[in-house]
């Protein structure tokens, strides 16, 4: 594999925002004013920190009820998985699949993907940088869609406020889930994809 001259190898610092290469002495990008550093100063620590927070909050998000349906004085709290099971019971497989995918599969996949990326760039033996790059972009792109559950809950809670007869209110899990999604997105964002390429040089 042909060695690729990277900015770092060239002694330059690329701006992560506008892509301008700057001399190492420059602290701030002259074009966009972004703080310049060749690699994140704390390494992968922010990634791990956000990821940990997201994972931790994902636990209560699944334990506590996401949505509390109050109908004629009758409380019916439902968790994320409980809601999916209920949808399956009433035969709405499509909706159940969407909710399950958006609220369970995607967050967990994100945790795994970010954890894998963080782990692989440090200790990975066999690197396939392009695949990692794809993985990272997918994670970045798809992560926001996990918030669909939160949107549904927020919209329904605002719409279905019929007093005694029926009302919906978000449970404690909603906040946890929202935070969890947000933290994972921050974790993905904190990951510096340049690290992927740094390993290539080492491997060669």
């Amino acid at each position: 594999m042909t060695a690729v001259l990277t900015a770092r190898a060239a002694g330059l610092v690329a701006c992560t925002t506008c892509g301008r290469a700057a001399p190492p002495m420059e602290r701030l990008c002259l074009r966009c004013g972004e703080r310049l550093h060749s690699r994140p100063p704390n390494g992968l620590q922010p990634v791990w920190g956000w990821l940990a927070a997201g994972v931790i909050l994902y636990i209560p998000a699944n334990i506590f009820p996401m949505l509390v349906t109050r109908s004629l004085g009758h409380n019916d709290p439902s968790t994320i998985v409980g809601g999916v099971i209920e949808l399956v019971h009433i035969g709405s497989y499509g909706v159940a699949a969407i909710v399950f995918f958006a609220s369970v599969i995607i967050p967990i996949a994100k945790f795994l993907a970010i954890g894998y990326l963080g782990w692989i760039v440090r200790r990975g033996e066999r690197l396939e940088p392009h695949r990692l790059r794809h993985l990272y972009e997918v994670v970045e792109y798809i992560g926001r869609w996990s918030m669909i559950d939160i949107f549904v809950v927020a919209i329904l809670s605002a719409l279905v406020q019929l007093g005694f007869v029926a009302s919906l209110s978000p449970g404690p899990a909603a906040a946890c889930f929202a935070l969890s999604v947000a933290f994972t997105m921050l974790a993905a964002r904190a990951f510096d994809p340049r690290l992927i390429w740094d390993r290539i040089g080492e491997l060669e």
């Binding site: 770092r8 190898a9 060239a10 002694g11 330059l12 190492p24 550093h37 060749s38 690699r39 100063p41 704390n42 390494g43 620590q45 922010p46 920190g49 956000w50 940990a52 927070a53 997201g54 931790i56 909050l57 636990i59 209560p60 334990i63 506590f64 004629l72 004085g73 009758h74 409380n75 019916d76 709405s92 499509g94 909706v95 969407i98 869609w145 669909i148 719409l159 279905v160 019929l162 007093g163 005694f164 007869v165 029926a166 404690p172 946890c176 935070l179 933290f183 904190a190």
Partner: protein
């Protein structure tokens, strides 16, 4: 190409301490822990509640409420070991956890329709929940409970005392019924269960504080459900505690003052009496240890004697009947009734509770003659009671202490059967009364009376009478009458002068002598067979009465009366009073003349002479001659009969009528008037004025005669006559005569009975006459006559005549007041004695028989068509009689009365036809059964009513809460409308999503 100088990338020295981003996961951990801790902290203890069924319980949904606040949630529903129960695992709120001790109760609230009403209706909407109840004191924690089947009636923690009432039967007292003290609700019946052995019913009752302080060992409870209606030996009693308990049932309690109250513990068992009176009666009976029991064998029927009937001594209850049974006497193999009674010593006044003392008292009493006797307590129900009576005449007897099972009290036969027999007899008599005939007669009589009373003529009578009264009033006011007192005074002066003369004073003595003579004559008459002659004469008269000619008399007499009326109406006749007044005035003048004043002297002398004459033997033969004369008269009457004298008489009367109607007769009054004028002239003539002088002289000679010595002997004679009279009164014959009165009376009675049989058809004839239009004409005639009489009364002359008559009468009274006049009655008595003897002889001649025959003839006469024709003549005026019947008001009363009588007669006939006696007996027999049935029905009724009442009450409440205008209603309608819209929108959305899932991502 040379590599550019290796750029030296200065790796900044990593900081020694970790990135601040790690604060985020720490914060996340804290949030999670906080959430978990909050969840765990709000989670109280988990308890298990065991239910029989899990109706409506859903894990995770069903809530536990305390005072309508949610304090827990069912987390799991599972079976207990062996599947005997359903266990609900409930997570309770931490706040209530300390109070979940042994007194906590749980039950499922769900819609419940039961005898107590509808409850838990709200759970139809909100779903079933578990209601908990516990007191406000913390206790040792418990985690396992058993749920109640039904909600407890008294909330846990209510201050009060829970006790138990035990009754022999459940009655109408139901769960939820009130317990009253002085008719104030102080408690509730909470449960009603059979005891384990099934012998009694136990009610759990909660008495609210502070009323539970009233409870003591002296408290007695009784059932106040419904109407307490009883017929006992004490009569009928009706008792209603309150309308509320009538509907819901209930129990009351009160204190028995005679028992010393001791405090009770919760759960104390009281006996529930059937009624207040029973509770009071049983006060002493409760002390069963001191009761003495005896057996009584009654000889007759014991029907009507029931357990509980009183045993009385001199009207005071001393015990009660426990049982009435029958046994076969092992010795005699005879059927005997056994009545077991309990004597309560306290009722006898024995204070010592030792039964020996009671038995000793009774032993003494029985030896002194006290015996048991059945007595009628209530005639209507036939209930009996045992009466201990004093029978001092009863054979000596003692209490049989060897008798089994209890000592035997001697008894005597009752007299109930006689009473029943006599009552039956009375009913038979009543049944046999001829009520129908009586009513029919009464109706007929009323109809006749109705017709007569309603006639116009009868109505006219009061008017006529009023006119007569007016005339009388005018007469009284007339100047002539006003003048009369003066004239009267003058006349009285004259009369008094006359009366006060000594000569007149002697007159009564002479009268007495004359009466004595008369008595002698009557004696002669008696001996002369006059009675027989009279009898024969009566027979003749009867024959005469039966003759057809005689029957024609009424018609003639009627015509004669008409003529007579005409005559009376004649002005000439009405002038007569004036003339008479003038004559009287003249007479007064005469009386006032000195000559007349001397007349009494002469009169007395004359009387003496008369008596001498009466004593003449010749006069004594006169009765005999009279007797023969009567005999001749009889013969003559017989001849008359033969010669159709009655016909002649009729003809004579006809002739008289002709004469009366003759114009000449009409002139008669004028002639009479003229004659009276002449008399007056005569009275005023000088000759008449001289007449008193003549009379005076004559009387003087008479007195000379009386002064004769022979005349002096008169008093002696009188005395002799009286002696003779007394001798006669002492005569045994008189006694026998009195003895003869009895048969006479018997005869009279027999005669009367005969008369009665004949009187009945006579009465029937009389009624026919009354029905006859002729009879009805009579009132008109009477009215006409009265009119004439009134005219006569209006005459001035008649008015003065009245004044004259009054004065004369007063003078006469003065004469009668003289002492000598009083001797006359004695003589009269003697004369009456003779008359009685005469009657006795008459009786012997069967005069009554003849009289009876005469009545028969009279009846035949009354039946005569002629008599009816007589009545017919007056028909015209009486025809109007019926018009009065038509007059409003007048007819109502009689007609109504008649109708009523007819209806009553019909009713009585119906009663009789249905055999009233038997029916009454049967009805009396059925009354008791009916009463019992009514009593039971009435007792059952309140329970039914109470259910209905509660059901409707609950339904009312529900309807009230759901009524139009309530907020819930409005909200529900609005909400449902919104839900519908929302649901429609969600449906559309779901459809869209199902069809095109990608719209979730790309938007619509």
């Amino acid at each position: 190409m040379t590599d550019p100088a290796d750029p030296v990338i200065e790796e900044r020295t990593p900081r020694q301490w970790p990135s601040p981003v790690w604060l985020v996961p720490v914060l996340a951990i804290l949030i999670s822990i906080g959430l978990l801790w909050q969840s765990w902290a709000s989670r109280g203890p988990v308890i298990e509640i065991a239910f029989k069924t899990a109706t409506g319980l859903t894990a995770g949904e069903t809530q536990v409420k305390y005072r309508d606040v949610t304090v827990g949630t069912v987390e799991e529903v599972r079976f207990s070991e062996g599947l005997t129960q359903v266990i609900a695992v409930v997570a309770m709120e931490r706040s209530v956890a300390p109070y979940l001790d042994a007194d906590a109760q749980f039950w499922i609230v769900r819609p419940r329709v039961s005898a107590e009403g509808i409850t838990g209706l709200e759970t139809v909407i909100s779903g079933t929940y578990i209601e908990g109840s516990w007191d406000t004191e913390a206790g040792p924690r418990r985690t396992s409970f058993t749920a109640q089947d039904t909600p407890p009636l008294t909330p846990e923690g209510t201050p009060g005392t829970r006790i138990v009432l035990r009754a022999t039967d459940g009655g109408s007292l139901s769960v939820g019924a009130p317990v009253l003290y002085k008719r104030v609700e102080v408690g509730t019946v909470e449960s009603k269960t059979l005891t384990a052995d099934g012998a009694a019913v136990e009610f759990e009752v909660f008495i609210n504080a502070p009323h539970d302080r009233r409870l003591s060992t002296a408290t007695r409870f009784w059932n106040t459900s419904g109407i307490d209606l009883r017929f006992g030996a004490d009569g009928a009693q009706v008792h209603i505690e309150s309308i509320a308990s009538l509907i819901r049932g209930g129990a009351s309690f009160g204190d028995i003052p005679s028992i010393e109250p001791k405090p009770i513990q919760p759960g104390h068992v009281f006996r529930l009496f059937a009624s207040a009176s029973e509770a009071q009666e049983q006060v002493i009976a409760d002390d069963e240890g001191s009761q003495s029991r005896f057996v009584i064998e009654f000889s007759g029927s014991v029907r009507g004697l029931r357990p509980g009937a009183p045993v009385e001594y001199r009207g005071i209850k001393v015990g009660q009947v426990l049982d009435v049974t029958a046994i076969i006497d092992p010795d005699t193999q005879r059927f005997e009734t056994q009545t077991i009674v309990a004597i309560q010593p306290a009722r006898l006044g024995v204070q010592d509770p030792d039964p020996e003392v009671t038995i000793r008292v009774l032993t003494q009493a029985v030896q002194e003659g006290v015996r048991a006797k059945l007595a009628m307590g209530n005639l209507l129900t036939g209930s009996l009671f045992v009466n201990l009576v004093d029978e001092p005449t009863a054979p000596y007897d003692e209490i049989d202490f060897d008798y089994e099972p209890y000592p035997r009290l001697p008894s005597v036969a009752s007299d109930i059967d006689e009473l029943a027999g006599s009552v039956e007899g009375i009913l038979d008599r009543v049944n046999a009364l001829p009520v129908e005939a009586l009513m029919a007669n009464a109706v007929a009589l009323l109809e006749n009376a109705n017709r007569i009373v309603g006639s116009d003529d009868t109505r006219a009578i009061p008017g006529k009478a009023l006119e007569i009264l007016d005339a009388v009033e005018r007469l009284a006011a007339s100047p002539d009458l006003q003048r009369s007192p003066a004239e009267l005074a003058a006349l009285l002066t004259s009369v008094r002068a006359l009366v006060e003369s000594p000569e007149l004073a002697e007159a009564p003595a002479s009268v007495a002598a004359i009466l004595a003579s008369t008595r002698a004559i009557l004696d002669e008459l008696e001996t002369g067979g006059a009675a027989g002659n009279i009898n024969a004469t009566l027979a003749a008269i009867r024959e005469l009465a039966e003759s057809p000619e005689f029957k024609a008399l009424p018609a003639e007499a009627q015509q004669g009366l008409a003529s007579l009326t005409a005559l009376i109406n004649d002005p000439g006749l009405q002038a007569i009073p004036e003339r008479a007044l003038a004559v009287l005035s003249a007479a007064e003048t005469v009386v006032a003349s000195p000559g007349v004043q001397k007349a009494p002297d002469e009169l007395a002398a004359l009387m003496t002479s008369l008596r001498t004459l009466a004593d003449d033997p010749d006069l004594r033969t006169a009765p005999a001659r009279l007797a023969s004369a009567l005999g001749s008269a009889e013969a003559m009457l017989a001849d008359l009969d033969r010669d159709e004298a009655a016909g002649n008489l009729a003809a004579t009367i006809a002739a008289v009528r002709a004469i009366v109607e003759d114009p000449g007769t009409a002139g008669l009054p004028e002639q009479a008037s003229a004659t009276l004028t002449a008399i007056r002239a005569l009275a005023e003539s000088e000759d008449l004025a001289r007449t008193p002088g003549e009379i005076n002289r004559t009387l003087a000679s008479v007195r000379g005669l009386i002064d004769d010595p022979a005349m002096q002997a008169v008093p002696g004679d009188v005395q002799a006559a009286l002696a003779a009279l007394r001798a006669r009164l002492d005569d045994p014959a008189l006694a026998s005569a009195i003895a003869g009165i009895d048969p006479l009376i018997a005869y009279v009675r027999a005669t009367l009975e005969r008369l009665e049989t004949q009187a009945t058809p006579a009465l029937a004839s009389l009624r026919a006459i009354l029905d006859d239009p002729g009879t009805r004409a009579t009132p008109a005639e009477i009215a006409a006559t009265l009119a004439s009489a009134r005219k006569l009364m209006d005459e001035e002359g008649l008015r003065s005549a009245v004044g004259e008559a009054a004065e004369t009468l007063r003078a006469l009274r003065q004469i009668l007041d003289q002492p000598s006049a009083r001797q006359a009655p004695a003589e009269l008595a003697a004369a009456l004695t003779s008359a009685r003897e005469l009657l006795t002889s008459l009786e012997e001649e069967d005069a009554a028989g003849n009289l009876s025959a005469a009545l028969a003839s009279a009846r035949a006469l009354l039946d005569d068509p002629e008599l009816r024709r007589l009545s017919a003549e007056a028909s015209g005026t009486l025809a109007a009689l019926r018009e009065v019947l038509d007059a409003p008001g007048a007819e109502d009363l009689p007609v109504a009365a008649r109708d009523a009588m007819r209806e009553a007669a019909d009713l009585m006939a119906q009663f009789r036809a249905e055999n009233i006696g038997a029916a009454t007996a049967g009805a009396l027999g059925g009354v008791e059964d009916a009463t019992r049935a009514v009593q039971q029905a009435v007792k059952g009724f309140p329970a039914l009513v109470s259910r209905l009442a509660r059901v409707s009450e609950k339904a009312d409440e529900l309807l009230a809460s759901v009524s139009v205008g309530s907020e819930l209603n409005y909200e529900a309608v609005t909400a449902i409308r919104e839900i519908r819209d929302a649901a429609r929108a969600v449906t559309d959305l779901a459809d869209l999503v199902q069809r095109q899932p990608n719209v979730l991502i790309i938007g619509k």
